[in-house]
Symmetry: D2
Subunit: 356 residues, 4 copies
């Protein structure tokens, strides 16, 4: 409660709007004694920040993070960590044209209906700009998880163009502007997205997040299942419309004997013969990789004229100029990683509390 | 916290195991003055209860609910509503054979790793039996939502066999044992599932939940988005592996101009030309139908022998006799409805608090 | 949220009314593997139950507790523990006379204003009968705290009649009907309370709770201080009007050098020279005894005629016959112990999560 | 959870240390459309800020607040309100002498035991400096409460020197440096405190908070009683050791007929003949003034040498120079008001959700 915080024991509360003076977050519950500096967080922010290629928005935001509290002499103190990112490039005037219009596919209409307010400056609180604070919090979550747990993400499809999983290579991720593990797919996407961009349009995408090294036992029965919390975490990212764990929707077409992962011994320790479960059974981690995927819809801010209403209730058309991502799915990769890392950190602490 | 409750203002906490003396739930936050009797709840429980056709488990549970508190002279008092369902048909001996074995695809292994306990009696707390209490709570949630909001579900695919959406007819739902809106698909499924059942196997399915009459404005920014909370609610149902809102994964292959739902006036009131959003924008309801789908994996308890380990760590094989659903997706329909109703009731009260 | 639960990691949710079919609670978050049976809980319930002497209400409630879930083969499983106490002696007819009258000092008026409901049967949810479920939960909390932490309570004043602290003897607590550690005070109170009772009146009291063996480090900064949570826990007991930790109100008259407890070494380990702090500094336990006191107002149900209103808004007078405690402070002793034990168990688990 | 936030629907999370770069808070759940500017908040901060008389610490902190989010065009938007106060006068060198010593009566020892960290700079997170953010949040809470509800506080005793309640005059509160409603007491206190201050000592105090105009019906049954939440809110203020509601500890010495407030009609509306209840019955507001008192211990930082330990575990003595309040109870008055206002705002929104 009441909407802008996530987690119970590793708890992140965020604030700030796209074109306000600053955005930030407060992280409560971080264990004491963990080495943490701004550089640790900045590294993750830099992976998400805009304007790094022609395939993301040209808004210039250095996204420099300041630690305001919770760290003393280079280590966490156990008290809340306040993080601040000052907004730099708020060109609110870009939005003058659409001040009184609801952008289709955006939250303009629903925020107006809910709150009676039209913060036209880039969507205000509903802007994906707030996800910078999630990435910052995710960097702290990674510290809590420690070196043994790795949370990595990849873009696995842009529009209809999926990667070839046989070519999956984690080392490729940072060698292209798409977080793509398949170098050939990345080349194809560059051409494909250039055409989309020049056409003033946008396209959806699919992201996959894999967490490895997660110990068995994280997650709680019934409602706060690890997979349920990951589903919420990922669905809370702007523009996400679908979530899968493990086999996902494909599991609906499987028979019991195809789906249930058999268990045997490998070198004397329990191991599974497959991972349709995506690393959770009954909502509790099994020790296998946690595998989650999410579908990102195409950016709604496009140059094509669209039918809509004014805040006053009249019909009109809208063209969204501004500076936008032709494929918002790209920058969703580090955000997805952050949300999974935060969810895991929360459940790691919950597990310690009850079963540690 | 700590795992067995859901919701903040319409808050449901559940307890009980498959083969314990009783299961139940406590609902806190229900507004006072709402007419409520056991019959209201029983009607929903009867839709979920086992043994109603040859396509669901033959365990005989009448699932009779008692209201223990929170209702006085036929109306809610505003205090917690305690609901109790006494277990009747606990044939724990069915489980003697598998007492020391982890059933693949079940939570046996992960609960054991987490808690160090092997409650072999039908999975204990991890059994889908606990979903009866969710359905009971969902019936109360419907009362809170009132007559203007309808939450309905349908089975839309069994294995590879999807319905023809052109034949969708809500009136068919209760005329076949599958909650299927397409009578021809229902006929086909009967034959198909008979074969699966006789083969000692099981199959996955897809469920769709539609909430109509939901006012614009429900949901909170950033984390407690309505769609994020629905995703968590549905992913928390046993055996669910995927969630979609509106266009879902299909949105990943759409262009911006295909996906974003345009707005115009219909008879002077705002209306959308499509519903790819599935009724939420920025995580807040738009007034359109809320449309959510979820994939259910096949029942893991099957008669086929499967490779697994004993609790002592030895390799073995397992055959799960007991009484099981060949397609657990069927009974997931009323559970999915209940979870969406609970989520909506919670957000309705949250909206009243802040914007009422 | 939303009012009927307490704690975050050791979380107790209660339900039930004075004259409904049953009262109960659900405890979520209990670590697995703890030995627990109904007898463990019953022992605490028996200390609180009514009708054990002429100084408490003559309502006959055996308060037999049933464990409905969360325990398997004599040990906790880590899943919610459901506890049920069936009401036996609901003489609702006692309340016929006052059905339409607000009892002064009771919650009748405020519940009616809040909920629009008049559950005249013994106060419904506002009855102190619900505290039985707290005592049951407190018994489970003691198990979580383990043998090294003792939470004990005593009645230290009845009306103006305080004990002599020099005569404090824990062994006396169970030898008189008052939980009084001073045998001479107990004798005096018996005479005093007989007079009050025969006069159809009632009297207030002061209870002291001492928790010993509490390790240093429990409690969280700023809001969820251990002392703040104890204050809430104790103030939530019906009829409580004041709370003190350590020196309490007397600290307001002390100078800095009189109040701050000096620290030195005793046998090589840190020790305090006094305990004005009552065992907490900055809201975090210091390892000293936690000392809390609370004031209990006199029972409002008395035989003296009192001026009041009807639910219809007319002036009237009321005499409350029924069966009532002349000094409700007596039975508040085990309830206070339970609330402190619950608070400590919650903070013990919280501490493990962050610093364990 | 997890310690640094308060409230459920009007939710305040705070961060920052005494000598870090800044302190701040985030308020989530504020209804939209409320006029709010920095001046509204500054006015309350100015009442608490240090250095306004010789009776409070000489640390120079202008406590200038910035609104970082949640307000657009002068009105709240319904999204989180981020507030920031940059620290100005952090003379950490003052603390060099005591870097390795636990100050008696302070949280140094317990924070060290809990977190393994000694943030010697003015107590770090445990410093009362964090209460500035509470006062800022309290100013926003007052806006939510609206003009009809007034939350006012007064210092009613300094050491043994209590006011004469017959001379209570709210207009005097801002005419002396003590928030004292009795001008004669204020005069006496000035002399008294001068002596204490010159002696290098400190003294405790008692604060009373009165909330008038509170409608009947705020508060929830059983645990989240309005009075229980106020008790927690006030006990969470640094240095507070006791809480009373209404008659408080005096109620322990009353008989039922003396204590229970009778009800009658005044000009046709329900009214009480006394207010021993302090405005709550069964934890729900009655419409009477909410009356709460709290005892504040003397400042522990004094010039008198005191026996203590070093962080290394050796015995030593300590003299706390720095800049300190001779009577920290004075500045606790606006903090107490803020905490009561926050609690009421939270319950006002909760009431709207369930019964609105």
């Amino acid at each position: 409660m009441t909407g802008n915080s996530f987690g119970h024991l590793f708890k992140v509360g965020t604030f700030g709007e796209s074109h306000g003076p600053a955005i930030g977050c407060v992280i409560d519950g971080v264990p004491p004694g963990i080495a943490l500096c701004e550089g640790d967080i900045q590294a993750d922010l830099d992976r998400r920040k805009p304007g790094q290629s022609r395939f993301t928005t040209q808004r210039r935001e250095p996204d420099v993070v300041q630690i305001l509290s919770g760290v003393f002499e280079g280590r966490t103190t156990g008290t809340p960590i306040g993080l601040l990112i000052v907004n730099q490039d708020q060109r609110s005037k870009d939005y003058g044209d659409i001040k009184d219009k609801f952008r289709p596919g955006h939250a303009d209409y629903t925020y107006f209906k809910k709150y009676g307010v039209r913060d036209y400056r880039g969507g205000g609180r509903s802007s994906a700009r707030e996800t910078a604070t999630r990435v910052a919090a995710g960097a702290v979550a990674r510290k809590v998880l420690g070196g043994g747990i790795a949370v990595r993400g990849a873009l696995i499809a842009v529009g209809d163009n999926a990667i070839d999983r046989a070519r999956w290579n984690w080392d490729e991720i940072d060698k292209n502007p798409f977080f793509c593990p398949d170098p050939r797919a990345a080349e194809q996407w560059a051409t494909y997205l250039d055409a989309i961009r020049k056409d003033g349009s946008s396209i959806g995408a699919v992201v996959e997040i894999i967490a490895s090294g997660v110990p068995a036992g994280l997650g709680a029965p019934v409602f706060d299942r690890l997979d349920a919390d990951i589903a919420k975490a990922l669905m809370s990212i702007p523009a996400v419309k679908g979530i899968e764990i493990g086999a996902g929707f494909a599991a609906a077409a499987l028979r019991g004997e195809e789906n249930a992962d058999e268990i045997h011994l490998e070198n004397g320790t329990p191991a599974f013969l497959s991972n349709n479960a995506g690393g959770t059974l009954g909502g509790i981690s099994s020790g296998q990789d946690i595998v989650a995927r999410f579908a990102v819809k195409p950016t709604s801010s496009i140059l094509k004229p669209r039918q809509t209403l004014t805040t006053g209730g009249r019909e009109t058309t809208i063209v969204t100029k501004g500076r936008h991502d032709p494929c918002v799915g790209i920058r969703a990769v580090p955000v997805g990683e952050a949300m999974v890392a935060i969810t895991l950190a929360d459940h790691l602490l919950r597990h310690k509390a009850q079963c540690g």
